[in-house]
Symmetry: C2
Subunit: 207 residues, 2 copies
DNA sequence: GTCTATATGATGATAGAC
DNA sequence: GTCTATCATCATATAGAC
């Protein structure tokens, strides 16, 4: 769900649509997605400021001006590439459906599962890296966390905001050490080891 | 201790040193420190890639070429500006001198105390921001964490590496939410509130 | 020690040909 | 839709005058 490619209506061959008269050009089929894929990868690797439009175009084997043609500006590419890989509105209820004494384990497994999958990891990592050095991206991420995550989780439970944020902090720090700094043995630990490690902590915060 | 300014022998007025013959020029007294202060601030704010030599020079009210003259290259400025604000070799023993059942609280208070102080925070924040998007900086930080922190702490206790790193992850994620993303209410929480929040978690990892 | 001048190259954005 | 050409900026780094 909410996978990286295949927005409804924009993928594939345009099927048997035929001549539709004015209004809708047949284009945007292919290179657009290629550009977005390259953008996600580069933003994830270098962050917003570090990934250049030209590098994205180069990686997509496309002319830089074409990127502009499609998305208008670098920021246009970014927000389009971020279109969310992970929707808290679907993940949160799934977590909170767990029995209360296994909330920590469930949250750990869900969160780490998303990060384990390169396709879902890329946009989040891009957001995180960008937010560290770019104020606009930081504001975007703050807004996302606050309204999509903490507000939602806070409304559905009686866990104080501070505790929700401490739990989020635990997971953010963990993935930074694992996927960005690649500190051993954490970087090579199995998902099960990590769940075992942090589940009690999350349980402490949320339980 | 290990404060930001005042490396022995390089600060102040050169005292009553007088004519010392060849060998040692009287220079480097003032502008050098001004450049380093500006560098720390800008690296902390924008990370290694985002902070330009020119911006550093501008902020220090100095010619860009002078920065080169002193430090040779941008990387030279960086490592000089990083010269450590915080020495685990002095902080770790202090933490581990605490009674075992208060390890978590002591670590939390020590760590948060460092981050509360802008002068000690700046170089660490600079390192962290830089490490997120620059591979050289990431390697530097990984090396620092591994050998100066985890190895030392691992040698002095029987706490497994994974647990040490999970504890570090908790604190890193917390300061990112607090100082970089500035998520509320965490960003405005008092030191005591934060200690109360995370001390049990650290105690769980280290105890 | 401090500066000007410059070499060299990348960036985001735009205008407009085909 | 796709491209060339170009603008205006900014970057790191160097050589060398004073």
């Amino acid at each position: 769900m909410t996978s990286t490619r295949g927005n409804p209506g924009t993928d594939g061959t345009d099927g048997a649509r035929g001549a539709r008269g004015p209004g809708r050009r047949p284009g945007r089929t292919e290179t657009r997605e290629a550009i977005l894929a390259a953008a996600r990868e580069l933003f994830a690797e270098k962050g917003y400021d570090g990934a250049s439009l030209r590098a994205i175009a180069r990686s997509a084997a496309v002319d830089p001006a074409l990127v502009h043609h499609f998305f208008g500006s670098k920021e246009g590419v970014f927000i389009e590439a971020m279109r969310f890989p992970v929707d808290p509105a679907v993940l949160l209820p799934r977590i909170m459906a767990a029995p209360r004494e296994r909330l920590g384990e469930t949250m750990a497994r869900t969160f780490l599962g998303v990060w384990q999958d390169p396709d879902r990891r890329a946009p989040i990592l891009a957001m995180l890296r960008s937010a560290m050095t770019n104020e606009r991206a930081a504001a975007l991420m703050r807004e996302f966390l606050t309204s999509a995550l903490f507000a939602r989780a806070g409304a559905a439970t009686d866990v104080p905001r501070l505790r929700l944020q401490a739990a989020a902090g635990q997971m953010i720090g963990l993935v930074i050490l694992r996927y960005v700094l690649r500190v051993e043995p954490l970087a090579s630990a199995s998902e099960d080891e990590m769940v075992e490690l942090v589940a009690p902590v999350l349980q402490n915060y949320l339980g």
